[in-house]
Symmetry: D2
Subunit: 356 residues, 4 copies
Amino acid sequence: MSSSYGHDFRMTIFGQSHSPAVGVTIEGIPAGSVIDFEALQHFLNRRAPGQNEFSTGRKEADMPEFLSGLKGNITCGTPLTAIIRNRDTRSQDYMNLANLPRPGHADYTAQVKYAGMQDAAGGGHFSGRLTAPLCIAGGICLQLLQQEGIEIISRIAAVGGIEDEGELLASTAEKTFPTVSEERGNLMQNKIAAAKKEGDSVGGIVECRIMGLPVGLGDPMFDGMENRIAAAVFGIPAVKAIEFGAGFSVSAMRGSQSNDMFCISEGKIQTETNHCGGILGGITNGMPLTFKAAFKPTPSIASSQRSVNLKTMKQETLQVRGRHDPCVVPRAVPCVEAAAAAAIYDALLSRRKETR
Amino acid sequence: MSSSYGHDFRMTIFGQSHSPAVGVTIEGIPAGSVIDFEALQHFLNRRAPGQNEFSTGRKEADMPEFLSGLKGNITCGTPLTAIIRNRDTRSQDYMNLANLPRPGHADYTAQVKYAGMQDAAGGGHFSGRLTAPLCIAGGICLQLLQQEGIEIISRIAAVGGIEDEGELLASTAEKTFPTVSEERGNLMQNKIAAAKKEGDSVGGIVECRIMGLPVGLGDPMFDGMENRIAAAVFGIPAVKAIEFGAGFSVSAMRGSQSNDMFCISEGKIQTETNHCGGILGGITNGMPLTFKAAFKPTPSIASSQRSVNLKTMKQETLQVRGRHDPCVVPRAVPCVEAAAAAAIYDALLSRRKETR
Amino acid sequence: MSSSYGHDFRMTIFGQSHSPAVGVTIEGIPAGSVIDFEALQHFLNRRAPGQNEFSTGRKEADMPEFLSGLKGNITCGTPLTAIIRNRDTRSQDYMNLANLPRPGHADYTAQVKYAGMQDAAGGGHFSGRLTAPLCIAGGICLQLLQQEGIEIISRIAAVGGIEDEGELLASTAEKTFPTVSEERGNLMQNKIAAAKKEGDSVGGIVECRIMGLPVGLGDPMFDGMENRIAAAVFGIPAVKAIEFGAGFSVSAMRGSQSNDMFCISEGKIQTETNHCGGILGGITNGMPLTFKAAFKPTPSIASSQRSVNLKTMKQETLQVRGRHDPCVVPRAVPCVEAAAAAAIYDALLSRRKETR
Amino acid sequence: MSSSYGHDFRMTIFGQSHSPAVGVTIEGIPAGSVIDFEALQHFLNRRAPGQNEFSTGRKEADMPEFLSGLKGNITCGTPLTAIIRNRDTRSQDYMNLANLPRPGHADYTAQVKYAGMQDAAGGGHFSGRLTAPLCIAGGICLQLLQQEGIEIISRIAAVGGIEDEGELLASTAEKTFPTVSEERGNLMQNKIAAAKKEGDSVGGIVECRIMGLPVGLGDPMFDGMENRIAAAVFGIPAVKAIEFGAGFSVSAMRGSQSNDMFCISEGKIQTETNHCGGILGGITNGMPLTFKAAFKPTPSIASSQRSVNLKTMKQETLQVRGRHDPCVVPRAVPCVEAAAAAAIYDALLSRRKETR
């Protein structure tokens, strides 16, 4: 199904940018799981619009209302639904897009797919707004994983070609602009500011690292951890690539380089290097699970673009209005954590069936 | 489930490297679909071992036996199962691996996951041998897609850091060493030969391009074409990264560069560039769908490696025996096509439910 | 997953009797499907409490709010969520049930299953209240089926052992007490009234008939129409049995009696009798699909009952308070239609994938 | 998918009556599960044809070959496939059926569904032969359940209107004609013999009882134990009805009768009666889970029947040849056990995810 994810933990995300609400229906969380609403809100705020000068001017409280599945702040075992009302919508900004699809957006493909019946306002179901319910579901997973000693940390690894430097730290994600190197972060922010000034946008890369994983999560072939995480992360709009461990660079290595030799460290089996990103045969090996995801530049840019009028089938010039981030990467960081958390938590539940 | 893929076209791959057979059970192919057995065998031969000097010495006919789902060469609408018998197995080569996991392999993770009950011989269910049934299923999909005007072509885009040159052609895949540039292909083969000589291996990149796709395949969020293809392609052993269209390089672009402007060409809506790889919002836009997958070097190398004895928990030196390709990339090319074909065909069936 | 149904049409029902809302998230309805809100409300009113003297005194408007998936009254192709707020709840009625499970209810089994963390108030997720979102989803399916010429009609076939008489008519369902025979209906109502007076309750049977079905819906083995409908109908609380066509009585027949001979009638292939209930090999044969479902008496009765205190593990006498129907059958009629409609509509979508 | 069953234990049944083989692919059995091949063969023999005078003359060894998923007789955690070769087929018996559908069979519905491309020989995928792989999968589940203290027993509850008498015993199923009362069994056998003599057939009822179940199996709404078992049992050809506990008769009861009062017995919570058949709110309550399934008479009868020629659309007289049981019920008993075992084992795996 289009907007569902997971086998044993299952989330179905619903809503359009300008529908009464966006939300998520979650199945599979065992009864008795405790949710820290304050921590969840703190996490959601990292994704919320209007947080800094580079994010869209649209202001939404992004406070979820829980409709079911809880008794107080404890899961009761049956489906959990949470919603966020859409309030600050300006559909008129999208009036001129009905027949003139924006380059880089789903306007044209949705128009064909849904035979013209799609909800185009604000990008409809394809809006970045839909990452809010993803972060509700993923934010809950993050808490449940933390209770089992699993931590997910992340950072902006690159923006507009400028790469961060230094080793990823747990504290990085909490920064307003989460890079390890302040200096590199400033260069990136300048890059974004320059693009914004010129009515343009820039892309970037998010890096994610998951620590404390038990050995044995993930399944062979199509349910390996790479498959599961990729299937979740490509659910975030604008992601065009993903790599695990050494990723693309592994293709230029020799086996004697890329193979992570086993060793005993801190009394347990580890590997000397981690080119495999903590995954062997689709299954976690107990080392940090690491991956990077590439985001394309925000496709909504102020400068005029060439498009085709779907009614007249003539080329026209398009001027995109509305409020858009010049770079989605800062707000994408918690989204990547949320997607990864959902994938890991789902694999964790699946793992329980195997152990007798 | 571990080794199943697809929603509406569903394949479940079974078997171990040294079990009586490997095979695949397929559901969802409509009745009346014609299978060209000769063309299928031709396709399977591209993946089969013993084809060239760089592939494992193991010889298997790799001729599938169809047990069900057909009346002659026409699908009858109910589940199709095909198997390939395992004949030329040498389990003794793997005797010394029982407690000494090979770096880069699933030996250790499977040992923990299956509590020591895994079938370790020849890599068991994690063996590259399991790509044979993947190619049966995917090879059938390729034929069914061709009947709808959809072509999947591919090549070796890089080996050991040496990149191919030139535009991908339909005829490339049929070459014994499928690169566009003969010269580049020769350099790559030298690289492989050198690694082999030194008891080492090299990795590489496969590029795939799907042409003739209708607009509208794929679904928003977690069932977009990127999600679907990634979930299939990571099912091939040794894949560590995937990128669509401009992929990672899009992260260094500006929106005004990366956005593919719409135009009218050959009487229909196309885009001037194709940085998005033919996918917008997870949905095909009618342009070629393009992606690249990175393969790590064959982890089984002849030179000695460091490992840990799982019984004694002491570090030991490991010498891998057995027959292994110094580079899996040439044989991986049809596997990537097969995985892509399964993903596309599944999306094609899903699309039928939407059109009234 | 617990509260999800369907392959291609998929509904996930959420909520507890006393949670902020109950609702349903629906995937798979093609874009462009028109929903008649007035007709839907009319259908929901047939199930709503407080409609007649035999239904619970609890009054709920039961007016759904649609949060997503629509543009006006037309589906836009992405997930549709509708909710009904819970307003008139009296949790204090259930205070004494925390440790004293009601016979015939899920109190005890939920207590064990959810390790004491279930939401017990009003029966929680096991309440008949959850049939409201089932009727939203099923009511939409009923409309979509009608647009394809498929009609679902039903009646009270029996209450407390008194059986209805006469052939089922389309108009029957619209009656306040939907029996064909007024006289039989009066006898049943007397039976209910008598039970109510004595603080007791009665069970009954609902009969359902689906007309206008094309030949070919349903799949062999585990996705036959019997399997699909049974899996949906047992989702309605209190259902303990289901039979298709001649049902249990077919077990006493000879093949020469039970076989429905083929004939040409009205220019098309029909059968002389319909003991198979319109299903052969799990697949519709074009004749009316008929089935009956048995409902147990409302387990919540006023008279005192024996139970066991889960804390003290001592037997105690239980007095159930709260507002309960003395017979759920009248309100169950639209629920059965809704469940059947969901099953049929799902099969109808699945069928589309087969036709090339 | 058509011929797949289960969420966490998943079996996909493939094959046609006259294809090279029938078989089953199973996913989800944890590694390290021990299979007793001899006991499995003993179980399969109970279903195999040619066992007594009332079963078809077709002789098949029905000995499964295991192709994957095992190391010796222990599951290795990856998909298990087992097949049975079809040898003694006489397709010519079915030549005259190509255009003349047999009443009570899937011939006509399959013809329409698969647009004439179905494999009609021997009933194809709709043949009772497909219960052989069901019994392989279910027979394995039976063993795994026994290892957890869960026993499934069953009997012929009725044939041709003659009902068995006495309480169901564990030893009953092992009888050649599994009734509790010898006398009643003889009457039934006379009934079958008489029907056979007249070229006719009879139907019957199978009763099943599952003991030793933990409290808490099954999920609310659409994954309750009734839903799960019904979805499996209707997968057996000829089943037209199912009832749990008191079943249809509960519809004539009052709540004060049908409610099963809780009590303390043998130191644990039990119920005084078991009208609910061990299921409350879809969840097991620790009492025996009981159900009955009704089978229609074998539709293939020797006497001439009326059918319609699908080519000429004219009514014709049909004479069915081939070898057929005059009553499927004796051989259906192990099939019902197998279907129930699959449903229970699947629920058992699902339950593991809930307990933390």
